[in-house]
């Protein structure tokens, strides 16, 4: 159990990741002002967001070097969130009267 060294990130890596995150923020705002046609703007924005989130998780939160179980916790949280969303959508998207009204 002991003898395991903690990973220490170099300044270069941390600043690099920070820079990448900044760049991606500029990209996603830039794309926003391009006003892509309807579904595409959100798709691009979400892809960029997932990418940014992954960078933070892997390199700021050290998951890249950490024991794999911690990564598994993160992934399963998202998987179960996806279950909540998807199984609810198979109701809300397929109702006979689609929009709730009383």
């Amino acid at each position: 159990m002991s003898g395991h060294e903690h990973h220490i990130s170099s300044d270069k890596l941390l600043l690099g990741v920070g820079g990448a995150l900044l760049l991606l923020t500029i990209v996603t705002v830039g794309v926003h002002y391009l006003a892509l046609p309807s579904p595409w703007s959100i798709i691009v924005a979400m892809i960029v967001a997932v990418f940014k989130g992954t960078l933070v998780a892997l390199f700021f939160m050290n998951l890249y070097w950490d024991e794999k179980f911690n990564l598994m916790i993160l992934i399963s949280a998202f998987v179960f969130l996806a279950l909540l969303v998807l199984l609810t959508l198979i109701d809300t998207l397929f109702r006979e009267i689609p929009v709730p009204s009383f």
């Binding site: 159990m1 002991s2 220490i8 990130s9 600043l15 996603t28 926003h32 979400m46 940014k52 969303v85």
Partner: protein, 218 residues
Amino acid sequence: MANKTSTHAHPKHLYHHFIDSEQQFSAAKMGMWIFLGTEILMFGGLFAAYIIYRAWYPELFTMASHELNTIWGAVNTVVLIGSSLTVAMAIKSAQLNQKRNIAINLGITIALACVFMVIKYFEYTHKFHLGIYPGEFYTFDGIEHPKANIFFSLYYLMTGLHGIHVTIGIGLMSWLLWRSLKGDYDSEYYTPVEITGLYWHLVDIIWIFLFPLFYLID
């Protein structure tokens, strides 16, 4: 159980029920990760509501998003990313035993978090000014949609819950700052810095998603 003969093997921070510091450190970290999992699902309920309402009323979301200021949202994104970076630097400083740098980096983090909250404050008050209040207090009539109130309910709930987390983060970080000034953290023991850092990064990640979902859809 007492083991007075070998004090070097039992540092001050080590609790009696752990075998060594490494076990204690990795347990604390795993505990924090599990907690972060619960955070994701707690925010997840709101994200789910967002997705479901958005699937029902896509046009509402595009219209209502006009009322949100993309530039300030972007500035806040940069501010939070910066604070994530400084937290990571604080941890690195601890690992390298640079005690002064821990405090400096934590100080910058707190300052950035406060900037974030101040900007949020101005965003909120600006909306209140227009009559964009949460829930049934909503009186704004600039959006031609019967469910405009729901969009802003979601906006206030999600950014509000996030704001609460930022505030808690500021509290935790201030406590870390105080203890690091006392010199409590070094390369041997920096568990609280590490796991508070994890928390802070998650708060950042959540904002990374909130930002495009609210500010970048018009």
